[in-house]
Amino acid sequence: MADMFKTPLAAWHEAHGAKMAPFAGWWMPIQYEGILVEHRHTRTQASVFDICHMGEFTVKGKGAKDALLHAFSHSLATLKEGRCRYGFILNEEGGVLDDCIVYNMGEDDYFIVVNAACIDRDFKTLCERMPAGVACQDLSSQIGKIDLQGPKSCEVLERFLGQNLHDLAYFAFRETEWNGKRLLVSRTGYTGELGYELYVEAASAQALWDALLEDERVKPAGLGARDTLRMEAGLPLYGDELDEKHTPVEAGMGRMMKNECDYVGRKGLEQVREVLLGLELEGRRAARHGDRLCLESGEEVGVVTSGTFAPSLGKSIAFAWCRAGQEGAASFVIDNGRAKLKARKVETPFYKDGTARVKLQ
């Protein structure tokens, strides 16, 4: 633990009985009361998640937009101020270096949120791809991020801030103030539910966390529930479903690739060697990262990237890479070396009743 990074909230988590474990080099809360309870609470009420480990950059200066259009896959040409967009940083071959959200803060002024495990590599890549005159800053250690997620999160945050948030659409954001501090409120998240990602200076993260928990509808949730929630919502996790060896098109993100510039990695998107499948298993037993994906004949055609028992569905679900051309099979067998689990391909999201995109106006 001594060599782990800690978020500003780590002491709070430990004092409140969280089970802690390493994640991407960080000492993070996996659960407080229990993963299933926290999962259900997020699907029905509102939960706060400590996401301070994730990275934040700013990119500013004349030419920033054009440079980012060539550096990242995001289609920034159509991204209005006050909106943000999901996309990828690719290598030359089209493999995914990271998935990230880019915020349009104003003319040639962008805010970028990246995965904790990729911060250093992402920042180096970003700096290499930006021309002179465009300034990049890594603010990861100075910014705290708390996610408020769940169908009650809008009502909670409106009461908390004393502001109407019904006009804040999915993938829109607003800069405001809380307690005299700058607060960025983004209607985004990783749970499939209505929710917000909140950015505040790191020194105020604890105060924000405490204040949000004063609302009786809000409970803390750990990375365990974050993972089951994102799996049910059909959202990929970098390192599992996304990696340098696969393109976003192979990962099923082809319809998002609307940037028409000749961005780094674009050429590589034409080749599809494997496709990512969403799989539903027959029983409660879960497939796990690394299990073999086979046809009924026993022929191995791929590998499971992540799998879990899905609390909101009462059965197990998984993502797996499948050799292109084999994805049409009526059913698959997942072999974990001890058992053979029957699975069939299904459309994602696995859980279809999420409130993330609900129109509030």
């Binding site: 993963i35 029983g283 409660r284 879960a286 609390p311």
Partner: protein
């Protein structure tokens, strides 16, 4: 919750309640707490032979999968069928309704720990 004094324990966190020539087996409070929310339990079938210190099933939670190791040698005479659809009972009542299977013992039960010795095993692992 402290571990019942009348039970015997294995170092791999199973408990045994000896009832004459039979023994009931489950996993301990420490095991269920370490695993977290249990989502799937595979126990041996009635009639299966189980051997002490050998794998005889598995217990899965949201985050982990763990082998179930038989703490005794004998033949399975009953299994807790309720766990198939309600494995969370193991979390709620590991020493009662969360029992896993019952064995007709092949011989006297040996090589297990009493509650005090088992508590020391847990204390060491908790570090």
């Amino acid at each position: 919750m402290s571990d019942p004094k009348e039970l015997k324990y294995s170092k791999t966190h199973e408990w045994v309640r000896v009832e004459g020539e039979e023994a009931v087996v489950g996993i301990t409070q420490f095991a269920q707490d370490a695993l977290g929310d249990i989502t799937y339990v595979e126990v041996p079938a009635e009639g299966d032979a189980v051997e002490q210190e050998k794998e005889c099933g598995s217990v899965e939670s949201v985050k982990a999968a763990s082998d179930l190791i038989s703490p005794v040698t004998g033949t399975v005479v009953a299994v807790n069928a309720e766990l198939e659809n309600a494995p969370e009972v193991v979390n709620q009542d590991p020493y009662g309704k969360g029992w896993m299977f019952k064995v007709k013992l092949a011989g006297p039960v040996e090589g297990l720990l009493d509650a005090d010795a088992y508590a020391k095993v847990c204390a060491e692992e908790a570090h």
